[in-house]
C-alpha cells in the first residue's frame, strides 16, 4: 500500500526488528504507561507505535539506541493521543506529561533496574498473592469480578491491591539500595 513499508521479504531486517522490538517492548510499554491513565490506553498506543517503528525501521541506524528511538516516537504518539482523547477523559495536563516523560528518560536506567528487580520481588510474595495479582492484571477481567471471586468488596480489593503495590515497590527499592550509585 505504501512505499514506506519495508520490503516484507527482507527476512534479515524483519528478524532484526523483531529481536529489537521484543527486547525493548517492556521499556517502551513502561514509558508509554507512565504517560497515560490506563494499561489499556498504553496497549492501544503501543500497537500504533509498533507499526510506526516497523515502517521507519529502515531509517533506524544500526548500532543506534533502539529504546531511545522508540521512546521518542512513542512520546509523539502519546501527545497526539492526549490531544484527541484528553477532552473526554481524565488525563494529565500536557505540560505535566512532558515533565514526566523528561524525568522518565533521565531515570530510565534506574527504572529498568526496578523492572528487573520486580521479578525477584514478585517471587518473594506468597503464591496466593501472586495468583490474585496475576488475575487482577489480566486484560480480560474487571476488578469487580476479581474482587468478588477473592471474596472481597471492591473497596477492600483495591485496598489490598494498593498495599501489594506499595510492598513490591518497597522490596524493589530495598533490593536496589544495596547497589552503589554509578
Amino acid at each position: 500500500m505504501s512505499s514506506t513499508v519495508p520490503d516484507t521479504n527482507d527476512n534479515d531486517l524483519h528478524r532484526e526488528f523483531l529481536r529489537a522490538f521484543t527486547t525493548h517492548e517492556p521499556a517502551v510499554r513502561a514509558f508509554v504507561r507512565r504517560l497515560v491513565p490506563s494499561r489499556n490506553d498504553a496497549d492501544d498506543i503501543l500497537q500504533e507505535v509498533s507499526i510506526v517503528l516497523w515502517e521507519k525501521f529502515g531509517e533506524f541506524h544500526d548500532g543506534g539506541d533502539f529504546k531511545a528511538w522508540a521512546c521518542g516516537i512513542a512520546r509523539f504518539k502519546v501527545l497526539s493521543w492526549l490531544r484527541d482523547k484528553g477532552r473526554h477523559r481524565l488525563v494529565l495536563d500536557t505540560d505535566v506529561v512532558e515533565l514526566v516523560a523528561e524525568v522518565s528518560l533521565q531515570t530510565e536506567s534506574r527504572l529498568e533496574r526496578q523492572r528487573i528487580a520486580l521479578e525477584s520481588c514478585f517471587g518473594k510474595i506468597s503464591a496466593t498473592e501472586r495468583e490474585l495479582l496475576t488475575r487482577a492484571y489480566r486484560r480480560d477481567v474487571t476488578m469487580q469480578d476479581v474482587a468478588t471471586s477473592s471474596g472481597r468488596s471492591i473497596g477492600g480489593f483495591y485496598q489490598w491491591l494498593h498495599r501489594m503495590r506499595k510492598l513490591l515497590l518497597q522490596c524493589i527499592r530495598r533490593e536496589l539500595a544495596e547497589e552503589p550509585l554509578t
Binding site: 494529565l92 520486580l118 494498593h162
Partner: protein
C-alpha cells in the same frame, strides 16, 4: 515514600478510579513536587512491569518462532493453522499482529530527531543465561551496573569476545573492551578482533593478548587471574610493573603485588559448558533431582547426606560457591588447608558402604585430592580414605585391607580404571561401593560402572570423625567444589547409581 494520602491519589489514578478533583490535585502536585513525580513514575513503572510479569513470555519460543516464520507475508496465513496460542506466546503474537497490520493502518510520523538522546553505544549482548533475573537473552548492555545473585550469564561483546560470568557477581562495561568486575567469576574467550579486552577488578586488571582466561573476584578479597590458553598481562593496582602470564599460569593480585597461584581451570564456567548446561537447567530437571534426593533421604541405610543447602553447614574452613543449579550452594576448597569436618556413622561397623558425590575439581599438582578421610587410619582397621590420585583416578582405601593377588593396581589400593577428572572443568559424579563380605570395591563415573577390584583382606568399614579436603598431611588437599555427598551403609546397585547420576545431572 511520599505520604500515604498522596500515594493513594496516584494509586487511584493507576486504577482508573480517580475523580475530576483528584486529577486537579494530581496535576498540580506533579507539576510542583519533584518527589511526587518520582513516586508517580516509579509506581507506573511498577504497574507496567507487573502487567508483563503477570503474562510471561517463553524465551525459547521466541527463537523458534523467528526461525519458523521468517517473513511477514507468512504471518498472515499462519494465524489459521498455528497451534493454539497459549499465554506464553501471546505477547509475541500480539507484536506480530501489529506488524501484520502495517498495511491496513499507516500513520506517518515525522521528526523527533531533536528528541533522540545522544545515542548510547551497545557494548555487549546477552547470549544465554542460566537462572533468574532480568538479564534475558538479547538484552543489550551499555554502561549500566549489573548485579546477579544466582545463575550464570553469557555475553558477547561488540568485538566478539565471549564472556561467561557466574553469580554472585557485580559488573559494568566501560566500553566494548573494558569490563569492570567488582565481584564474581568470569571466563573470557577472546578472538583476535577483540584482543586487548581488559577486565578491571578492585585489586588489579587483566589485559588479554588473544586468549582464554578466567578472573575470580570473591567479595572484598584479592582477585585472581588464571590463564587457560594464550597470554594475558596482569597488573596489580598500584604496582609499577606488570606480569606476562602464559597458559597454565595463575596469580593472585593483592595490595599492589602479584603472587603466583596454582591454576584452577575448573573453577570457571566457560562458554562451551554453558551450552551443555542450559537446556537441562531450564527444564524441570532440578525438581526431579530434588524429588529423588527426598526419596533417598528416607532410605533406612542412609548414614549422611550433605546437599549444603541448609544454614547449618558442617564446621571447617571453606568458601561457599554456586552448586550445580542456580541458587544452590556448594562448599568450595581453594587454599591448602581448606576443609570441612564431618562426624557420622561412628557408632558401629559397616560391612557395606556406598560413597557418592558430585565434584568439580581442578587437576592440581598435589598427589591426592581428599574427598573423604576418616581420622583414625593408624589406629583402627576399616578406616575409610576416599580420594582422587595424581593419575586422576578414584581410590577407595580402607585401613588394613589388602588387594587380591590378581589385582592390577600397583600402589596397593583399589583404584578406578578411568581417570575421573575431565580436562575442561565440569561437574562429574563419582561413586564407589564397598562390600566387606564379598570383598569387592566397585567404582562408578557419571553413573557408569568402571571397574571392580577384589580384596584379600576386607575389614568392615569404620566411619566417625572425618574430613573433606585437606587432610593432616601435606600431600592431601582438595581444589574445587563438592555437591550432594551421600554415605549409605549398604551397597547400591548399578541401576541405583545410574539413577542417582541421572537425577542429579545438570548437563544435557
Amino acid at each position: 515514600m511520599t505520604n500515604d494520602f498522596n500515594f493513594g491519589l496516584v494509586q487511584r489514578y493507576v486504577d482508573g478510579t480517580a475523580s475530576a478533583k483528584d486529577m486537579l490535585q494530581l496535576n498540580s502536585q506533579l507539576r510542583d513536587s519533584p518527589e511526587m513525580r518520582q513516586e508517580f513514575i516509579e509506581l507506573l513503572n511498577l504497574d507496567s512491569a507487573l502487567s508483563i510479569v503477570c503474562e510471561p513470555v517463553n524465551e525459547e519460543e521466541v527463537t523458534a518462532f523467528e526461525v519458523k516464520r521468517p517473513s511477514l507475508t507468512q504471518v498472515d496465513h499462519s494465524e489459521a493453522d498455528s497451534p493454539p496460542a497459549d499465554s506464553s506466546n501471546r505477547l509475541l503474537s500480539r507484536s506480530l499482529f501489529r506488524l501484520a497490520a502495517v498495511a491496513a493502518c499507516l500513520t506517518l510520523l515525522i521528526g523527533g530527531t531533536w528528541w533522540w538522546h545522544a545515542s548510547q553505544q551497545v557494548w555487549a549482548t546477552v547470549q544465554n543465561r542460566i537462572g533468574f533475573g532480568g538479564l534475558k537473552e538479547g538484552i543489550e548492555l551499555r554502561g549500566e551496573l549489573h548485579e546477579i545473585d544466582a545463575g550464570v550469564v553469557q555475553l558477547v561483546t561488540a568485538y566478539g569476545a565471549e564472556i561467561v560470568i557466574e553469580a554472585p557477581a557485580k559488573f559494568q562495561f566501560e566500553s566494548a573492551d573494558r569490563l569492570k568486575l567488582t565481584r564474581g567469576r568470569l571466563s573470557a574467550s577472546v578472538p583476535p578482533a577483540a584482543t586487548g579486552f581488559t577486565v578491571m577488578t578492585p585489586s588489579g586488571e587483566a589485559v588479554d593478548l588473544g586468549t582464554r582466561f578466567g578472573v575470580d573476584v570473591r567479595g572484598i578479597g584479592p582477585a585472581e587471574i588464571h590463564v587457560f590458553e594464550g597470554e594475558v598481562i596482569a597488573k596489580a593496582s598500584g604496582a609499577s610493573a606488570s606480569d606476562n602470564l602464559y597458559e597454565g599460569d595463575a596469580v593472585r593480585m593483592d595490595q599492589g603485588a602479584s603472587a603466583s597461584r596454582e591454576l584452577r581451570s575448573s573453577a570457571f564456567i566457560q562458554s562451551a559448558e554453558m551450552s551443555e548446561l542450559t537446556p537441562h537447567v531450564t527444564s524441570d530437571q532440578r525438581r526431579r533431582a530434588e524429588e529423588y534426593v527426598t526419596q533417598l533421604r528416607r532410605d533406612p541405610a542412609l548414614i549422611a547426606m550433605l546437599d549444603f543447602e541448609s544454614d547449618q553447614l558442617p564446621p571447617g574452613v571453606f568458601h561457599i560457591a554456586q552448586g550445580r543449579w542456580p541458587r544452590s550452594r556448594a562448599p568450595e576448597f581453594i587454599d591448602v588447608g581448606d576443609h570441612m569436618r564431618l562426624d557420622a556413622g561412628g557408632d558401629r561397623e559397616w560391612p557395606q558402604l556406598t560413597l557418592a558425590a558430585w565434584v568439580r575439581l581442578d587437576q592440581v599438582g598435589a598427589p591426592y585430592q581428599s574427598l573423604l578421610h576418616t581420622d583414625g587410619w593408624e589406629s583402627t582397621p576399616g578406616q575409610v580414605h576416599w580420594m582422587v590420585t595424581r593419575h586422576t583416578t578414584m581410590r577407595l582405601a580402607l585401613a588394613g585391607n589388602t588387594l587380591a593377588p590378581d589385582a592390577e593396581e600397583l600402589e596397593g589400593y583399589p583404584d578406578s580404571r578411568t581417570p575421573v577428572l575431565p580436562k575442561q572443568g565440569r561437574w562429574v559424579h563419582l561413586a564407589t561401593v564397598y562390600d566387606a563380605t564379598a570383598r569387592t570395591v566397585r567404582f562408578y563415573l557419571n553413573g557408569d560402572f568402571d571397574k571392580e577390584t577384589r580384596q584379600a583382606i576386607a575389614h568392615p568399614a569404620r566411619l566417625g570423625a572425618a574430613q573433606i579436603g585437606n587432610w593432616d598431611r601435606h600431600d592431601r588437599k582438595l581444589s574445587g567444589r563438592v555437591d550432594e555427598l551421600f554415605i549409605f551403609g549398604r551397597t547400591l546397585s548399578d541401576t541405583e547409581i545410574q539413577t542417582l547420576y541421572e537425577a542429579g545431572n545438570p548437563y544435557r
